[in-house]
Amino acid sequence: MISAVIRFPGSNRDRDMISALGKIGGNAPLEIWHTETNFPACDLIVIPGGFSYGDYLRSGAIAARSPVMREIAIRAKQGVRVLGVCNGFQTLTEAGMLPGALMRNAGLRFVCKQVKLKVENNTSPFTSRYQKGEVIPCPVAHHDGNYFADPITLKTLEDGGQVAFRYADGTNPNGSINDIAGITNEAGNVLGMMPHPENLIEADHGADAGRRLFEGALDTLESEAA
């Protein structure tokens, strides 16, 4: 599969993401600057973490209105897989591609630590390599990760199985409603999450539970995944 990583001014987890996609997918992802709209067809588009446009106005707000995002919205509707991590998740909500909003952490502090994630839904491509209910460790690093949605939207997400990951065992680091750490769109081909699976792919990271997210998203063969 062909993957692509989008770069905005202020992206800073793009290199980690490029490295993870290359190591797991077997070929280097395309690197796409935010002004491009005419980039080659790809199967997976990743919006990495960082502080796009300095997070001016609201985190991800300016990035969400950039030319490349209009193209990504079109491709997502056609079924292309889209993953937004951290600032990428904020950008996807700001672009209206995922419901809700990410607000300032309830404790007001930037949090950089390891949390536990419970896999709530393993029917999306991103979560298909996990067991439902499985708990994995995962690092987070953010200031605005406090997920909020109005009660009707929240019910739709919960009833529709769109909550992909939830903070588990009392590790909610930011006050997110219903302990939500990651959600998909209705079709399941767009995932946004605050934690960083790209920083959890090899022994040196302390665990490699993030690999399976990319293996699912990239449809690598089980034999390669071993």
């Binding site: 106005l57 707000a61 209105r65 700001e94 909003a101 607000m103 300032r104 404790g107 007001l108 006050g175």
Partner: protein, 81 residues
């Protein structure tokens, strides 16, 4: 030229941890009787136009599309001059 002020505030029911921290700051300074503080944003916008109706409509569109996140925020547009 038209000068306008846009005020963006958090919707009722949306928690405002920053407002809470400011509330604590005021209490630390000895201000008593502050029931609540909610933080918002103000944008002063100057438009190269004299058509106030169009300006109001344009400013509302700007709020809907960028200046406010209507999932969590309300906005108010005020034409000043």
């Amino acid at each position: 030229m038209i000068k306008a002020r846009i005020t963006v505030t958090l919707k009722n029911g949306v928690l405002d941890p920053q407002g809470k921290a400011i509330e604590g700051g005021l209490a630390s300074l000895g201000f008593e009787g502050v029931d609540s503080v909610r933080q918002g944003k103000v944008f002063d916008v100057e438009l190269n136009s004299t058509d106030k109706d169009k300006a109001e409509a344009d400013l509302a569109t700007m709020c809907e599309k960028l200046l406010a996140n209507t999932v969590i925020e309300n906005y108010a547009v005020e034409i000043i001059t």
